[in-house]
Symmetry: C2
Subunit: 509 residues, 2 copies
Amino acid sequence: MNKYFLMLSILVCQLVYGQSQDILSIRKFTNEHKGQLINEFTKFLSIPNVAADTAGLHRNAAYVMDMMRSRGIDNVQLLNSSTPGTPPSVYGEVMTKGATKTLIFYAHYDGQPVNPSQWAKELSPFEPKLFNGDIYKGATNITYPSDGNYDGNWRIYARSAADDKAGVFSILNAFAAIKQSGLPIGYNIKFFFEGEEEKGSIHLNEILENNKALLQSDLWIICDAAIHASGKKIIVLGVRGDAHVNLTVYGSKKPLHSGHYGNWAPNPAMMLAKLLASMKDDNGRVTIKGFYDDVKPLTAAEKKVLQDVPMVDEQLKNEMGIGANEMIGTSLEEARNLPSLNINGMESGNVGKLATNEIPSTATAAIDLRLVLGNDWRRQQQKVIDHIKAQGYYVTDHEPTDDERAKYSKIVKAIPSRSGYNAQRTPLDLPILQQVIAAVKTTTKEQVVIEPTMGGSLPLFIFEQYINGKTVTVPINNYDNNQHAENENIRLQNLFDGIETMASLMMMK
Amino acid sequence: MNKYFLMLSILVCQLVYGQSQDILSIRKFTNEHKGQLINEFTKFLSIPNVAADTAGLHRNAAYVMDMMRSRGIDNVQLLNSSTPGTPPSVYGEVMTKGATKTLIFYAHYDGQPVNPSQWAKELSPFEPKLFNGDIYKGATNITYPSDGNYDGNWRIYARSAADDKAGVFSILNAFAAIKQSGLPIGYNIKFFFEGEEEKGSIHLNEILENNKALLQSDLWIICDAAIHASGKKIIVLGVRGDAHVNLTVYGSKKPLHSGHYGNWAPNPAMMLAKLLASMKDDNGRVTIKGFYDDVKPLTAAEKKVLQDVPMVDEQLKNEMGIGANEMIGTSLEEARNLPSLNINGMESGNVGKLATNEIPSTATAAIDLRLVLGNDWRRQQQKVIDHIKAQGYYVTDHEPTDDERAKYSKIVKAIPSRSGYNAQRTPLDLPILQQVIAAVKTTTKEQVVIEPTMGGSLPLFIFEQYINGKTVTVPINNYDNNQHAENENIRLQNLFDGIETMASLMMMK
């Protein structure tokens, strides 16, 4: 193939697919290094990264530092909060001579807790395994190919394969690809990898404040969450906030025989069921007083981009196997712009083979509150607690004493999470956002979806509040990555495309 | 102490405490052999006896046979059902020359399932441990005394320490005590120890039918369950029936991120909460259509003995730490004479440290139905299922197919247990019942409580139906024995008193 034919081909590609020559060079790098990249990635996934495992988190941070140093990133270091024991963030930078602007790329290396017994039997959260597709569609485990010939539809299953080690992977490999391809970087590039995101970024404010000068930038680019369910790339302007309330309802101090005391002793599982049931109506609308009152409406410009988001409700219902959505008459995009209340977990006594004829002594639920602009996370928690009181409950923050048990017939321990945060949204008219949109468009022939609010949550308000940082979220993961649950996975093509997306931003003009 | 003083003492005891001389001889035997008896008992408790462990059940049966043979009981053998794999019952007999009547003593050697993680941390279900009292009142673990000097208030903690290896213990040691004390037995005595009671005695009918002649008797004496909460001995005329329904409600095929899909994808935990909540009103009364319709009222005589049952509602509320009972205005004894619906267990997603920000894919509940005379167990299960249908659910007996998922927005898998049974009650005017009451009265100075219906369930109707057997239940366990739950225990004095109770019945005239 001669030089002119190559140049012509690149030009044709660019015209047909909207992809720039620089991006095609990045793709070439990725294609030639797949084996090496996946090998480094699976080693990363093998290091346990749950909040309870401090040593594991430190090993992850050290691994990230090694990856950064091996790519020639400068000034690599751990950034600590003022609170001892906090998992550190990992920082690095590449300063560009004469640059007028600075971009800082964010991802996090910690992961959600795991309950290995809930994972598919051939999977183990910290033993990344390769499958020839989606296990929910019958894919099977295959060995890692020694020739590096990976198919884009294959998937790797492990905790944080998507959320958010895929973010660290795509950012660091985008930089490697640019550097090794000899492509130009116009801005200063900084790297910031957090270690406490899944625990609610409790100490992120301290880390930012302790390192204000180091972390100055014109834009934080958050590489987390998933692209659009249509498969189109997505740019997200904001996120929902998040807070939790954990509930424990009390029956007898000891579990009782359901024959001897059935329908005489109160059953906390039934009490909890009635309490939770009181929180939503049959149309999925939250019935807690004032729950939707504080919501700040979308602007006209935001409403407009929202209208352009492809509708995937029917596709998702079909894929998820659900006959109807929860809030009748509300689309997915509309639902994401409302505060939500969800039961993450519920437990009392035993079910299945372990079930016994007992009246359990307690029943527990974990409640998740998502918030939109206008909501205050502590106020939203308080609304839930006020609702519980209105159902006749005595609300306490400790195990009930004998006196409390004697005095109150309905007792709940309600623990609002200390780590919550509000929603955030970057204004659509921020000039640098247009550069971001233009950059991502160089990587795809498809529509780039602009979403005012992501359903999920990230602590983006912290950047605004503590170092006046602007943020935009640019996800790369497949939407069906099972993040936060069992069988988390990343589709390999999303990893490879993610390198291109991040590279386009690093080369932003 | 001379002979006359001893005789005088015995006479005084008998007058003051209502205890016969024969019973005092039994007590002497027990006091002199405590070490040996407890040693044999703890070995018995060390053999796992859950339904899933067939080999363990066979080892238990073999141990019971050894205990019987070592006491000189004749014709010891295993009785099998016609269904291969059923745990055998253990039989033995002592025929009395010239006896006109036959008593058959029943207990069961199998136990409820265990979830060791729910037990107190110093306990393990099949490592019986001795405590100097009730662990819920701060008792501590002590070593088994080498001198056999056991205090009656000490407790042994293990699965089946009460339910129902204590029954096997008291029956076999009553016989040993009578024999070694040279006391007279007037009737033929048979022994029948079941191995499948906690699984619902599914094959008991086959065992009875296969051994009709061998098992003929004038009365089955069922040694199971607990004495009255007042501490008084109790004779129980009947039991509630029992059946179960297991429910699984379906959301998305896979767990989802509660941020991305919260309040759009249906949450099965919330669906289950609403479904369960619909089954009872706020006064604890079951709202399922026709739930109380079939109940056969108590006779005048039964109502009379019911009135004589000591009221312990306030004592129990205090001990259990509950401010109010579930069915407002209904006493414990009244509640036991009504059919009941209880949630034994409920599970969806994860709580506590394992909680993640997910929308679970399923939610499960185990429901227990207790029945009184007049209820039919299959009809009662059907009422629950009809109620679920009336809430708009599509009810299936299998994992929903994709077509079913697409067609129905509310899907529940409802599995009615195949092993249920009806309530039973022996008529109060059966002549031999008067002998039973008189016999137990020889062992105590206190009131002997007569209860028309025990709250718990035993498959007593099977004896009636398949071999025309009459039954009476004579419990020995402390009421706070945690049977069917974690931290099951037996108070030692109840074991020792149980020997006296069973002996009084074997010596019945």
